[in-house]
Amino acid sequence: MTIRMVYFAWVRERIGTGEESVEPPASVVTVADLVNWLAETSPAHAGAFENRSRLRAAIDQDFVPLDTPIGRAQEIAIFPPVTGG
């Protein structure tokens, strides 16, 4: 299953790209699993995901907790806590 990953703010900067396509193995069930798996793909990902408590996520543009199953997600976003307004 191919998932479009999108990144924002310092997560985007540390990874070095705003989006990428990934094909996680079947063992990846939740967003947290996906983050753990991605962190092993490169030092940049590992650096961006170093502190999991500072990460937030959205599945197909809906905000979700990191322990949410990814299901049949097409787009998953990983980003820092929001700071608008």
């Binding site: 924002f8 703010a9 959205a58 905000f63 980003f79 700071t83 608008g84 307004g85």
Partner: protein, 149 residues
């Protein structure tokens, strides 16, 4: 009436007020946020999540309309680079009376701060840094969870 705008261009308060007043009710409450020049900030840049941002703002506006029976809810947020003193956000709530308009206006800005995917980056001289989220913003947004739901 709901009006949501995520825009690069400057926020035209007069145009937004005209829109709020045209909804035909007795009270309009508004909030305008300006870029602060804290500690020598020269430029503030706003990044957002296109599509998700508009959807999140629409949800906030719909929540206010339903809870306070508003005639109109307006949310305008700038993105891209801006400078101290410039308007970064404008919200307006139009209701029959002032109580609902004022409360709904506070709700709109409190919820926007925690529910919409925007990120601020400040530049001071040549040094850029991402603004950290504040716990107080979550407390402000959460106060709307406990009273009349």
């Amino acid at each position: 009436m709901i009006h949501i705008s995520v825009q690069q261009s400057a926020i035209d308060i007069a145009a937004e007020m005209t829109r709020a007043e045209a909804a035909g009710a007795g009270a309009v409450a508004t909030f305008t946020g300006l870029v602060r020049g804290d500690d020598g900030v020269g430029t503030l840049e706003l990044e957002h999540y296109p599509g998700a941002t508009e959807a999140a703002l629409l949800k906030v506006a719909e929540g206010a309309i339903e809870r306070w029976s508003l005639s109109a809810a307006i949310i305008v947020h700038r993105v891209g680079p801006m400078h101290p003193g410039e308007r970064i956000v404008f919200v307006a709530a139009t209701a029959a009376h002032r109580g609902a308009a004022l409360e709904a206006c506070a709700y709109l800005i409190d919820r926007l701060k925690t529910d919409a995917p925007f990120w601020k980056r400040e530049t001071r001289g040549v040094k850029a840094s991402w603004v950290e989220a504040r716990d107080g913003d979550h407390a402000a947004a959460a106060r709307w969870d406990i009273s009349k739901g």
